[in-house]
Subunit: 213 residues, 4 copies
């Protein structure tokens, strides 16, 4: 089935914003990639910035939704962290363009939308902080500076969007498992192979992003 014009616009924007940055992408680039005239673009979006905000919000909304759903049914901190890492890595590997836009283009937003986007990001990171804190409190994680560890973990996982290619030799689930292992090592937690956090994360990823690893 063919793509809607609106979808073409969205995808063009995601691809171009990821590749050349928001300021590096012109309205005409977008129009050309979406195969419509630049005037017609304005039937499918507000301003260029609105388009960026939409992309970012949807991406973050899904990430938040996924994290919350996954943690809903998981209690053990190591399992929970596994789930978070798995989700984050899968999302960033499967949607590198969207996530890179979220990560790199916040500075292109004007004040009001930036506040909103940053608030979403903060909510998401709070979930990670929470999970780590619980693990530390429970004595399962060893993290002398939990905030540092959280940021190290997040940057490590986010970085996947900058280099992972689905055409490479490593399948998505192997990648995610590898990262979960790395994360637990960082937290001084014995790697629990087959913990059901990762399993739950894969289910959620399938629901939220229709990812089939």
């Amino acid at each position: 089935m063919a793509l809607t014009t609106e979808q073409r616009v969205r995808r063009a924007a995601v691809k171009l914003f990821a590749a050349k940055g928001f300021h590096g992408t012109g309205i005409r680039d977008l129009a050309q990639a979406a195969k419509i005239s630049s005037a017609s673009l304005y039937h499918y979006m507000g301003t260029k910035e609105d388009l960026l905000v939409d992309i970012m919000r949807e991406c973050l909304d899904r990430l938040l939704l996924a994290a919350r759903r996954a943690l809903d049914t998981v209690d053990d901190p190591a399992d929970a962290l596994s789930a978070l890492v798995t989700l984050h890595v899968m999302a960033h590997a499967a949607q590198p363009d969207e996530t890179r836009v979220v990560d790199n283009e916040v500075s292109a937003l004007s004040r009001a939308p930036r506040r909103r986007i940053v608030a979403l990001r903060d909510q998401y990171e709070a979930i990670w902080a929470d999970t780590i804190d619980k693990g530390v409190s429970a004595g399962v994680f060893d993290a002398p500076e939990p905030a540092v560890t959280r940021l190290a973990l997040l940057e490590m996982c986010t970085g996947v969007a900058r280099w992972y290619s689905p055409r490479g030799p490593l399948p998505l689930d192997r990648l995610a498992a590898r990262y979960a292992q790395l994360a637990l090592r960082m937290l001084g937690s014995p790697a629990l192979l087959g913990g059901d956090g990762a399993e739950r994360a894969r289910e959620v990823a399938a629901e939220v992003w229709r990812i089939r690893p």
Copy 2:
């Protein structure tokens, strides 16, 4: 002592490119930040892109130099990795603007300079790959997919430039030590406190960037 105009230009560029991106920074922004007219900018640079290239090259040159110097006197793989992580983290924490420019603005370069910059970056990453491979061969590191581990490590350490603030509670050397510990954990290597890799790295950092933690 007052800053040279050339230095003011360079610093303005680094700060603005880091904060708003290359395409988000106008010539007039640069001129205003450097306190000269926009025409005068062109006494101190070629094009705006040349300025970007200069910044990137110098930053990468120093990173390469530092890595090579540090590894010159270090043999043990765990020590070597400690040294690399320490250097990388210190550089990114102490010069977050420069390093963010290097990391984020490669796509703003036109073909020829991009090739040159990417070549430098590849040389640098090859040093990490080498170090990890040696550790794996020596049985000191456990890294089933060494390339993945390398990228995870690099992204984790590079991420420091995105959040670390020298005004925060964590001093630079504590931060670096923490990251070295995380890195060794990721490689399944027992944390060697007081290994002289980190020590050597601090010396080199002092020479290359005049960082005094």
Copy 3:
């Protein structure tokens, strides 16, 4: 009937390039003369140079077309030369701006378009060379250095664009006839009044440039 915007742009460019030269004419001058904003100019042209190239090419194309058509039905060398001179003079007198642009602004072109324009000009001059050679071979023309004579003839006729005014006392056909006479004298050929070369040239001029003397 009113002029198209595109036509206004073209005419403004021809007039200004002729009067002040390509480099002496600014985009704003063009816009003002065409009665649109300078940004709007770019809907009707590529770069300023593209506009120049278009003007030159069209002018030369027509000149070539006219020369070929006229010589198609003329055999006698004196008649042929009469036709060439008549056409050239009529074109330069009726379209002094276009032809002055062609003559004066070749040096403003960058390499690739210059090659193309010069090639056209060379084709045109080859027709003159051919005609002169034939007359010399036939013993009708006396031209010890045919190349010199050709250049002298061309410069003489081209010069018309630099001084002729349709508001002056001399009507176009009288001017052309005068020049044909001068040309034949230069070639030592008895002036043939009423030779049908000039007649044919007038027909072609009417077709190609809609000139009605």
Copy 4:
């Protein structure tokens, strides 16, 4: 003997103005060609326009001087015209850059200097007009529209600067003689080989421009 800086500036200007036009030549082009800094240029000239005016005036002054001197000792109209053509052609062939600047860049002048330059040019052309008129009055020349003939002659001779190369096969005196013959033919006057107009012109040219054919 080496050239004065002032001479280098003058020659650079002549060459560049001829090749790329006044507006197409930048101050930095001039400085580079004269091998001094662009600031230093201003020790040797007023404004860029002043430099242009100087070049034009000197060129026209010499042409006027030469024409007057030559005609001083020549009476016969055919001889006089021979002299004028010879001088003009020699000047334009030997100093193509100067004369092309005079011919092409008048429109680059602002009002006041333009008036002065045009006045000089008019004086010079008046000499030609005078000479032709005398010949017509004397029944030596056949020129139904003397003004047209004058302009045709001038354009033909001036055109030499656009194509003649001293490296070509035709020596300067042969070229001049050829043009004198063409001119007399145009005027319906029997070619007088060896008339002393041309001889006198060659003497004057040697004095005024140090041309040795």
